[in-house]
C-alpha cells in the first residue's frame, strides 16, 4: 500500500506542477503565444479568412497572395477607406451579420472605440514583443499597429519637375498650385484625419483655409493615384506607399516627397473581431502579418514596419528616415480633437 502511494506520488506531483504552470502561464499563454499547431489545424479546416482593410489594394493583394501560398488558406480582401471599413464593421456588429474576421484601418481611435464596444478579441502575435513602441499596442493585446504609414506629398513627376515639386506642406499654399491639389476627406480617410490634425497643430486652421483658396479638390479617399497620373490634379496629400502602388501598376509618372516640415507617422492597427466567423484562420493571418515576412511586404509597399527585426530588409531606394522630422501622434489628444476637427473641416470642404 505504501509502495503504491509512493508510485502514485511522482504523477501527482507532475500533475500539480503542470497545473501550477498552467495557472501561472495562463495569461501569457492566452495573449502572447502566437499560434499553436492546434490553431493552425483548425485554421486550415476553416479554409478562409475575411479581412477588412484600408491598406492600399496593391499591398493588400500582395499580402493575400503571399499568405495564401504559404498556408493554403484563402484570403478575402475588402479594401475601403478607413471610415467605410469602420462603419461597416460596426453596422455588421449591430445587425449580427458578422462577415469579417480581421480589421485594419488607419485610425487608431477606431480601435479604442471598438474595444470599448467589445467588438474585438484579444490576440497577441508571436512577435508582439518586437513592436517598436508601447504606444503602438493595446496593453491587453486587443490590437497592435501592423504598419506605420508615412504621410507624404505624391505628385505627377511628368508635369512637375525640379523647383516646381513642393518640399514642405507649407509650399502647397503657394498660388502656383491653385487647382492642382487633391486631398481626402477627414470623415473617411485616416491619412487625411492625421494630416489635418498635425497641420492644424503646426499652422492652425489658416493652413486649410489657404488650401481652400487654392481650390483643393476633396475626394473621399486620399489615394488618388489615377487622378494624379492622368494629370487631373498634380499633387495629392496622402502617404508614401502610393509611390509603390503606382509602380506595381506600371504607372511611372508618380513621385513622392516626404515633407521637410514634418512626416506624420500614421499607425494602422490590426485586430481580430470578437465575432469572427473564422477565428483560427484570423489568428494565423494576423500572426503572420506581424512576422518579419509579412512586415517586409508592408515595407516593400512603402510603409515603415511596426516591428523591429534584423530579418527585415528595406527596399534599396527607401528613404533614410533619420533625415526627416518624424512626428508621432498622441492618440488621446487626437481623439479629443477629432469631432471638432471634423466639424471645422466639413465647414471648409463640405461633405
Amino acid at each position: 500500500m505504501f509502495r503504491k502511494m509512493r508510485s502514485a506520488q511522482p504523477l501527482a506531483r507532475l500533475v500539480t506542477w503542470i497545473a501550477l504552470a498552467v495557472v501561472a502561464l495562463a495569461p501569457s499563454l492566452a495573449v502572447a503565444d502566437g499560434i499553436t499547431p492546434e490553431i493552425l489545424a483548425a485554421a486550415k479546416a476553416e479554409g478562409q479568412v475575411t479581412c477588412y482593410t484600408s491598406a492600399d489594394l496593391v499591398l493588400a493583394n500582395k499580402l493575400k497572395a503571399a499568405f495564401e501560398q504559404k498556408y493554403g488558406i484563402k484570403v478575402n480582401v475588402l479594401r475601403q477607406s478607413s471610415s467605410t471599413i469602420y462603419n461597416r464593421a460596426n453596422q455588421e456588429f449591430d445587425l449580427g451579420t458578422n462577415a469579417a474576421d480581421t480589421i485594419e484601418t488607419s485610425v487608431m481611435s477606431h480601435f479604442v472605440d471598438m474595444k470599448a464596444k467589445k467588438m474585438l478579441q484579444p490576440f497577441a502575435p508571436a512577435t508582439a514583443n518586437l513592436i517598436r513602441s508601447a504606444k503602438l499596442s493595446d496593453p491587453e493585446h486587443y490590437w497592435h499597429a501592423v504598419k506605420l504609414e508615412l504621410t507624404s506629398m505624391n505628385y505627377n513627376s511628368d508635369k512637375l519637375k525640379g523647383d516646381d515639386v513642393p518640399k514642405t506642406w507649407k509650399d502647397l499654399l503657394d498660388p502656383k498650385y491653385n487647382g492642382k491639389i487633391v486631398q481626402g476627406h477627414i470623415k473617411s480617410s485616416g491619412d487625411t484625419a492625421l494630416i489635418a490634425y498635425n497641420l492644424v497643430k503646426m499652422y492652425g486652421w489658416e493652413y486649410f483655409e489657404g488650401l481652400r483658396k487654392n481650390n483643393v479638390l476633396t475626394m473621399q479617399a486620399c489615394t488618388q493615384v489615377e487622378l494624379v497620373a492622368r494629370g487631373e490634379r498634380l499633387i495629392m496629400m496622402c502617404d508614401y506607399s502610393q509611390l509603390f502602388t503606382a509602380r506595381a501598376q506600371n504607372i511611372s509618372v508618380i513621385g513622392a516627397v516626404l515633407p521637410q516640415d514634418g512626416v506624420f507617422m500614421l499607425a494602422g492597427p490590426e485586430a481580430i473581431l470578437a465575432k469572427a466567423p473564422h477565428p483560427n484562420a484570423a489568428k494565423v493571418f494576423v500572426n503572420w502579418l506581424f512576422s518579419p515576412e509579412g512586415q517586409t511586404i508592408y515595407v516593400e509597399g512603402g510603409d515603415a514596419a511596426s516591428i523591429d527585426s534584423p530579418e527585415m530588409k528595406l527596399p534599396p531606394d527607401f528613404p533614410d528616415l533619420k533625415k526627416y522630422k518624424l512626428i508621432d501622434t498622441d492618440i488621446d489628444d487626437f481623439r479629443k480633437w477629432l469631432p471638432g476637427g471634423v466639424e471645422k473641416f466639413t465647414e471648409l470642404f463640405g461633405g
Binding site: T50, L57, N61, N76, V77, L78, R79, Q80, S81, S83, T84, Y86, N87, R88, N90, Q91, E92, L95, T97, A99, D158, G179, K180, K187, S188, L217, T218, M219, Q220, A221, T223, Q224, V225, E226, L227, A229, R230, G231, E232, R233, Q249, N250, I251, S252, V253, T346, E347, F349, G350, G351
Partner: protein, 560 residues
C-alpha cells in the same frame, strides 16, 4: 369602410388584400418618415427642423437642389422636345438610330454617366478638355465638371430622355393637318412647330418639365461624384451624410420632407394646369399624317441630333467600355495593355462583386414581378370600379411618384429598422424600395393598356359564369400582356439603375451592383468601376432589347 366589407364576395378578398398591401407599402413609410422628422431623443419636437434651418450647409443644399432641378428641367425639356420633334415629325435622316440611342440612355444609371464624365470633362485632364486645349491652344479646359455647371450638364444628359419620351408620344399621337395648313398658309416649319405642335402638346410639355425637375433633384450619384469634391452640395448628398455611422434618421427625415413637399406641390400645379388627364397625352388615332420636310436643313438637324446623342450616350459609354478592357499606365498607348483583368477582379477577387450582381438580379426581378402583379390588380380595380375604394387604390399607386427614391428610403429605414418587423439589412427592404418607387410606372402602363380593352369580353365571360377574378386572369391579363410586360421591364431596369435608395438601404451582406460601383469608385479603382458598370449596362441592355423585340419602340413609354 364597413360598407364594401360587409357584403364581401370571395374574390373581393383579393381586391381588399391588394389595397391593404398597397396601403402598407406606400403609406407606412411615409407615416414613419413624418414621425421620425419630429422625433428627437427627448420625444416629439421641432428640433430637427430647427437644426436644418440653422446650418448653412443644409440651406445651401436646398438652394443648389432647386437650381439643379430648374436648370436640368429647362435644358432637358428643350433638348428632349427638339429631338422628339425631329424624330417623330420630320424627315430628318437617322431617326431610328437617334431614337435607339435616346432609349439606350435608360439603360445607363445616372451615376455611371457621371463617373464617365469625370474622365471626359475633368477640368485639367478630361479627354474633351484635352482636345479643346489642343485645338485652341488654350491653357484652360472648356468644361469644369467639378462645379454646379458641370453637375447640371450631367443632370441634363440624364433627364432629357424622359422629356423625349413624353414629347415623342405626344407628337406621334397628334395629327398633322393643322401644321400642314399653317405651312400652306406660308408659315415656316419652325413657326408651325412653335405655334401649333408645341401648344397642342402642352400636357406632355408640362409633364416633361415636372418629371425632369423631379428626376434631377432626386439624383444622388452624380452630385456625390462630381458635386461634393467641388463643395457643391444638394439635399440628397446631405441626407446621405446624415446616414453615415451612426445614422441620424430624424435629421435625415426633416431634410428629406421639403423635397417631398416640393414634389407634391409641383404635381398639384400640373393637375391645375392640365386637369385630370395626368400624364397621358392626347392619343387620338390621327387623321392625315405627314412629316415636315426640312429640305437641306435635315442634314443640319441630323448633325445636331447626332451630336447630342453622341455626347450624352455614345461617348460616356464608349469611355467606360474602353476603360473596362484597358490597363491604364498613363504612359504611351499600347495594345498590350488590353486586358480582362478588371473583369476577373470584379467577378472573382472583389468579395462584393458576384454577390452584388446576384443581389441586384434577385431584388430587381422580385420588384418587377410584384410591381406588375400589384399594378395589374390595382389598375383592374380602379378602372372597373368594382369596389367603392377604387379611387383610393389608384391614388396609392401614383403616390410614390411624389416621393424621391432617397426620401422614400429614409421612410423605409424609419419603418423597418426597429419595431415589429426588422427588415433593415435584408434584401427585402431593397426590393420593397424598388417595387414601391416604381409602382406608378407599372400602374400607368397597365392602366393605359386596360383602357384599350373593351369590357365586352369580360362581361361575356361573366355572363358565362366566370368570376371577376377569373375574367381578369383568363381574359384581360392576356389581352394587356404588352402593357404588363412594358411595366415589368421599366421596373426591372429602374431597379437595377437605382443608387439613391440603395445607398441608404444596403449593408455589407446586401450590396447591389450600383452600391458596389460607388464603393470601388471611392477606393479609386477605375478599372473595377468600369467593369462593373459595363456588367450592369449589359444586363439592362439585354432586358430592354428583349422588350423592344416584343413590344416595339414603345417599350419604355409610360403610356405604352
Amino acid at each position: 369602410m364597413p360598407g364594401p366589407l360587409a357584403r364581401v364576395r370571395p374574390q373581393d378578398a383579393v381586391w381588399v388584400a391588394a389595397a391593404l398591401i398597397l396601403a402598407v407599402l406606400v403609406l407606412l413609410p411615409v407615416y414613419h418618415l413624418i414621425v421620425a422628422s419630429f422625433t428627437t431623443r427627448d420625444g416629439l419636437s421641432l428640433a430637427n427642423y430647427a437644426q436644418i434651418f440653422r446650418v448653412r450647409r443644409f440651406q445651401e443644399a436646398m438652394l443648389n437642389s432647386f437650381l439643379l432641378g430648374v436648370a436640368s428641367s429647362v435644358f432637358g425639356t428643350a433638348i428632349g422636345t427638339l429631338l422628339a420633334w425631329l424624330v417623330s415629325r420630320t424627315n430628318m435622316p437617322w431617326r431610328r438610330l437617334i431614337r435607339v440611342c435616346v432609349l439606350g440612355c435608360f439603360a445607363v444609371p445616372a451615376f455611371v454617366n457621371a463617373l464617365s464624365w469625370v474622365l471626359l470633362a475633368g477640368p485639367n485632364a478630361g479627354s474633351l478638355n484635352q482636345i479643346w486645349m489642343a485645338l485652341t491652344g488654350s491653357r484652360e479646359g472648356l468644361i469644369n465638371i467639378f462645379s454646379l455647371g458641370g453637375l447640371i450638364v450631367v443632370a441634363v444628359a440624364t433627364v432629357f430622355p424622359l422629356a423625349f419620351i413624353f414629347m415623342h408620344n405626344a407628337f406621334e399621337a397628334m395629327d398633322t393637318e393643322m401644321e400642314q395648313a399653317a405651312r400652306l398658309l406660308g408659315a415656316s416649319g419652325i413657326r408651325a412647330f412653335f405655334t401649333i405642335a408645341l401648344p397642342l402638346a402642352r400636357p406632355a410639355l408640362i409633364a416633361a418639365f415636372i418629371m425632369t425637375f423631379l428626376e434631377a433633384v432626386a439624383l444622388y450619384g452624380a452630385p456625390a461624384a462630381i458635386g461634393v469634391p467641388a463643395r457643391v452640395y444638394v439635399i440628397t448628398t446631405q441626407v446621405w451624410s446624415l446616414f453615415e455611422y451612426p445614422p441620424q434618421v430624424g435629421m435625415a427625415a426633416a431634410l428629406s420632407l421639403p423635397l417631398a413637399l416640393i414634389t407634391v406641390a409641383l404635381l398639384w400645379v400640373q393637375r391645375l394646369l392640365i386637369g385630370r388627364r395626368g400624364f397621358s397625352t392626347v392619343r387620338g388615332k390621327g387623321g392625315r399624317w405627314l412629316r415636315t420636310d426640312l429640305g437641306a436643313w435635315r442634314w443640319v438637324a441630323a448633325g445636331v441630333a447626332g451630336l447630342i446623342v453622341f455626347v450624352t450616350f455614345v461617348l460616356p459609354n464608349a469611355v467606360l467600355v474602353f476603360r473596362s478592357f484597358y490597363r491604364e499606365t498613363y504612359g504611351s498607348f499600347s495594345v498590350g495593355d488590353f486586358t480582362l483583368a478588371h473583369y476577373k477582379y470584379v467577378l472573382f477577387d472583389y468579395i462584393d462583386g458576384l454577390p452584388s450582381i446576384r443581389n441586384s438580379l434577385v431584388t430587381a426581378l422580385a420588384a418587377a414581378t410584384f410591381a406588375a402583379l400589384l399594378a395589374l390588380i390595382a389598375a383592374f380595380v380602379s378602372r372597373r370600379r368594382s369596389v367603392r375604394f377604387a379611387g383610393v387604390v389608384a391614388f396609392l399607386c401614383m403616390l410614390p411618384l411624389a416621393i424621391p427614391a432617397m426620401v422614400f428610403a429614409v421612410g423605409l429605414v424609419a419603418t423597418y429598422s426597429g419595431g415589429w418587423i426588422v427588415l433593415y439589412g435584408t434584401l427585402t427592404i431593397l426590393a420593397l424600395a424598388y417595387l414601391t418607387k416604381n409602382l406608378p410606372y407599372a400602374f400607368m402602363s397597365c392602366n393605359a393598356a386596360l383602357a384599350s380593352v373593351h369590357t365586352d369580353l369580360e362581361s361575356a365571360a361573366r355572363v358565362l359564369g366566370a368570376s371577376q377574378l377569373r375574367a381578369l386572369r383568363n381574359i384581360t391579363a392576356p389581352l394587356i400582356r404588352n402593357g404588363l410586360l412594358s411595366g415589368w421591364i421599366v421596373v426591372f431596369a429602374n431597379s437595377l439603375r437605382d443608387l439613391s435608395a440603395s445607398v441608404l438601404l444596403y449593408t455589407s451582406a446586401t450590396t447591389v451592383i450600383s452600391t458596389a460601383i460607388m464603393d470601388v469608385y471611392y477606393a479609386s479603382q477605375w478599372g473595377a468601376v468600369a467593369a462593373l458598370s459595363v456588367i450592369l449596362l449589359a444586363i439592362n441592355v439585354v432586358a430592354i432589347a428583349a422588350g423592344y423585340r416584343m413590344l416595339g419602340r414603345n417599350v419604355l413609354s409610360p403610356n405604352a
